[in-house]
Symmetry: D2
Subunit: 347 residues, 4 copies
């Protein structure tokens, strides 16, 4: 019973079926196939606007390649200190941007506040050759803390971006979970709030390996094809990546899968909160729970066969629990029951 | 009936079955799974030596990341002017090496000759700060012209590499086809001939998207894990890439598939050579045929529904025909018969 | 009367004379001349150890090129948030390291504390491919706040560097001012305290354009020559850069010039501190004063013809005053008298 | 008596005087001084057009930074196989462009022909993501072989550049020698012939260390200031670099110095050509002579105290002789007399 990450899960059946179905005879390579074209069309419908869409196979490449279209090599990209692009990509944004600088802006709950972003940009010394130049802001939706920006919060940052003539990127590795939680339209959450480009994730939510970079401003996409190829991220048998996305977007499967993951997280946190001494670090607004439990309960859960991560840099007993499209309700119930039993033993 | 490339084919049944089989419950991500470990073990057996192996999903990333471990940013990498790394990767080696220079060395049939390599290295001004410094040689096996280096030819270049203290890389996007053609052991073709690192391809030969970088000198591999992650090429659900490779290496599937592709190429060229006016550009030693046909035959074949590429930079009527694991014998026969019928019509 | 920066000053007479003297007939280019060799010899004497020394013409290139020898492109360099390499070089370290990340560690008075450095390195997740890897620490001596690390403070950080197997770089754009202030030997301040490489500045202290990168561990210097040339920082008529350094080191001119600058700063701050309402931001341990004065005094000084910078990000009335080898005692006195007169007018 | 290179010479007296004159009191740093402004003004006059001009201190940085404004990181820059940017800059263009590819186009006498350039661009597969994209052409004027492009030859290439929408760069390390030889206006030789940006050299022609990048299309210059700073090439005491250029352009000193160097080369080659067995490799159209002499004469000249380089990759006895602004007529005469005496001895 694995609550380590949503990437320990396998492939959703609908997506696996789509891969199999795509395996029929010869098809043009490198994205010239009909399935890839259909994915772009589906995204234009989902976002209620014509978009340019580029499938890739990892979230790191989606983010770093997207950012590389937004900044010169001497640019600054503003993000949260705990952002995936800052902490967990081993310097990928620096590689793909040719050395741009990621500038941290602190914020509660893994989110940037419009005020802090405005301060940072006001003090960025734009135009002065001694300093890296403001180029982009990157938000993570849902955030690294399992929280979600409201559309209004995004729009406030989008406003600042426009004012300072910088671009707005959204790392949507868990975009589905955020949209499912907030119950807003994808358009409201993105370009209507000022987002220029979105890394739209599918891998964590049921795909084998599929993400798609969505440009709402098609002019920004002009160099993307070259950048993707040059990075070795243009998949030759693209139809099999696109087939995953095609199934992901068909009949709102992406939202169905995310709603399940979110519901499992809500059930899980609901069952844990009543435990005496429990401390919830952040509101649960997607499929991640950051929670502090008594140490003996943490140990007991592990002994009972539950897998999860201790959270680095936090107080002892702080763990992260991640649910996914594949999380079984019975495993969640078992987790809650085991935790509660351990409480009684301890008390 | 598509002879455009081996990447227009789909997935071999054994490989698709392995992907499905891997889709069972939770499994550690980022390559910490048992399937990935088994792939490395299989490669150590295939090459009769302990190797370090890193799965990736494209040949371009395999090549460029491998080269990035062999050269400083001010290094020179020697290769054929038509090498994939030189011509077809939109500058990926330059990106991943931080700006190293690819230096072309001309050679017949898409192959480097030991003499020309020795000349280039003798004149490379090693140690002089004004010039990029010799760092690596890269061979393509099978070559871009569909020819294969013999083990002796590789060893002669390996000798020069050792003498000049540069590393030897082999781009083996079609390694299986070369090994199948030459009937040598993988060990003889690689480290026993001086190869330090191999990009071992599977995608063109039946995988969905799977290549593996094989280091024979494990010390060279030390930085690879970081470089792969930083490039966004560490797949989170790695088990599904490794499962492809696992099936590819089981029971020598890789050779079985390549032998079929090679046999189809031999049958095809055998049926075309007798046509009057035909000119074969290179010996067929893998699964690619570069051939010049009368223009009306080329046009007639296209009209009859056969797909293939005109070869850029060559005389009119020069086309490339590529066979694959999936090429049907009946399609090859149809191609030959159609071509021969067109001859009669023309004459 | 300009107190804006030490780089608004001209060239010290001894250094100008050396340039003229070097302008005699033909001399080998690119550093193969006798003057360049003598500079390296002088530095070996000054540091009581055989060093490898490379003249360049800017502090930014000295720092960024030095750092590029200490880190892989996926490395982390720890420094103060206000460090020149972090704030004032428009991303030069990122360019020359191929995308390494500068990680800020806060500290009072522009200095890193050993404790904070140890914490950062303990939490750096060395060996984990998802994160940039600890590679180097960079100190600024004298710091951006005009303070100086004691040899003991440097040694404590050097100890941590050794323990974590990372390298220690010192940005010594104002190294002369720090050494003059502390009255320690150059050896004590550097390699004896664990410093691996020093950017030794001369430009701010009387040269036309001359800095020298000094490697105490000569093995680290092996790639420097190539990196300098590749950056366009190998000066063809090197003798004229080396001549500046040669004069700078002859008869301890570097210390004589720095002592003058430091003495002027002490006189200046001594004359300003008694003014009511004055607030000194940092102790004055080199040639820079960060001080807050009543706004009308600041305005009055400017009106009287004194040039200096308002300090960005600080409270209104906070200014920076920089003295140099060329600062005239009479100008310092004039500044003090003017300020004091303005006090009386105001009161 | 040194004929190795024009960079073994010192500083022209007028330029040295200008440096001394600039050494008066405080002056704004980083190019905000009046001398730097005057240099740009002078260049606008020389080129009969408003230009944007950026002083730097090396030819390599001038070239590589200029090119970095003309190409994306996945771009191709076309140049002669012997171009300085291709052979002698240790990969600087690759560094500053973020990995663009230099594509060699062979041509007689160190010059590109319009026909060969057109062929290369016609076959560049613009728009195809698999290939680096045509971005710029770079000419060297005077060329690495001591020849000069006529304005007509440049214009023919400029026409092709415009047609293919790529930019045209001129490496003018010896621009003065070419202009002096051809007796055309600087405007005719550059922007009127389609040149977008010029690396205008002074160092080889009498400066201490000064080159200036001249943009005829000011829009291309927008990012240059950031790129120069980020490369560590923004000199803090800029007035001393600009002072060199100011003197260089005053009263056409640049042409006066170049005419002397060219005249010395003409006298030298005129005195050597009559020697039996002599072979002149290229017409002498600047200040470089590539000549093959009998081996015993080469040896005898060296024995008599003349310094020069054997030319790598050429037949034995092939040497390069370079004259400069500082070459003394008596040294040229001595060279000729010695060579002729050696002939008599030999015969």
């Amino acid at each position: 019973m694995n609550f380590c990450s949503d990437n320990v899960a396998g492939i959703a059946p609908e997506i696996m079926a789509a891969i199999e179905k795509a395996n029929q005879g010869a098809m043009p390579s490198y994205g010239a196939d009909a399935i890839t074209a259909r994915v772009e069309q589906r995204l234009s419908e989902i976002f209620e606007r014509e978009v340019a869409a580029f499938p890739v196979v990892t979230g790191t490449s989606a983010n770093a390649l997207a950012l590389s279209t937004l900044t010169p090599p001497y640019g600054a990209i503003y993000c949260h200190p705990e952002a995936h692009i800052m902490v967990d990509e081993c310097g990928a944004p620096e590689l793909y941007t040719g050395g741009a600088k990621l500038v941290p802006i602190a914020g509660a709950g893994g989110k940037l506040s419009a005020g802090a972003v405005a301060d940072a940009l006001d003090n960025a010394r734009a135009g002065d050759v001694h300093h890296v130049q403001p180029a982009a802001i990157s938000l993570t939706q849902a955030s690294e803390c399992g929280t979600a920006y409201t559309a209004t919060e995004v729009a406030a940052i989008g406003e600042i971006a426009r004012h300072h003539k910088v671009k707005l990127h959204m790392d949507g590795a868990r975009f589905a979970n955020a949209v499912a939680h907030l119950n807003v339209s994808p358009a409201q959450m993105t370009w209507q709030a000022g987002v220029d480009v979105l890394s739209f994730g599918a891998t964590k939510n049921g795909a084998l390996a599929a993400e798609v970079v969505v440009f709402f401003d098609k002019a920004l996409a002009e160099t993307f094809g070259f950048r993707r190829k040059r990075a070795g991220h243009l998949i030759s048998k693209m139809r099999f990546v696109s087939a995953q996305l095609d199934a992901y977007f068909e009949n709102d499967l992406w939202l169905t899968l995310a709603r399940h993951a979110n519901a499992m997280a809500q059930r899980l946190v609901g069952g844990l909160k009543p435990i005496p001494g429990v401390q919830l670090l952040h509101p649960v607004e997607a499929n991640e729970i950051f929670i502090r439990l008594p140490l003996e309960i943490v140990a007991g859960l592990r002994k009972a066969g539950f897998d999860f991560y201790d959270w680095p840099g936090a107080a002892p007993g702080t763990i992260r629990l991640v649910t996914s499209f594949a999380t079984a309700a019975k495993d969640v119930e078992a987790f809650i029951q085991t935790a509660n039993k351990l409480v009684k033993v301890a008390s």
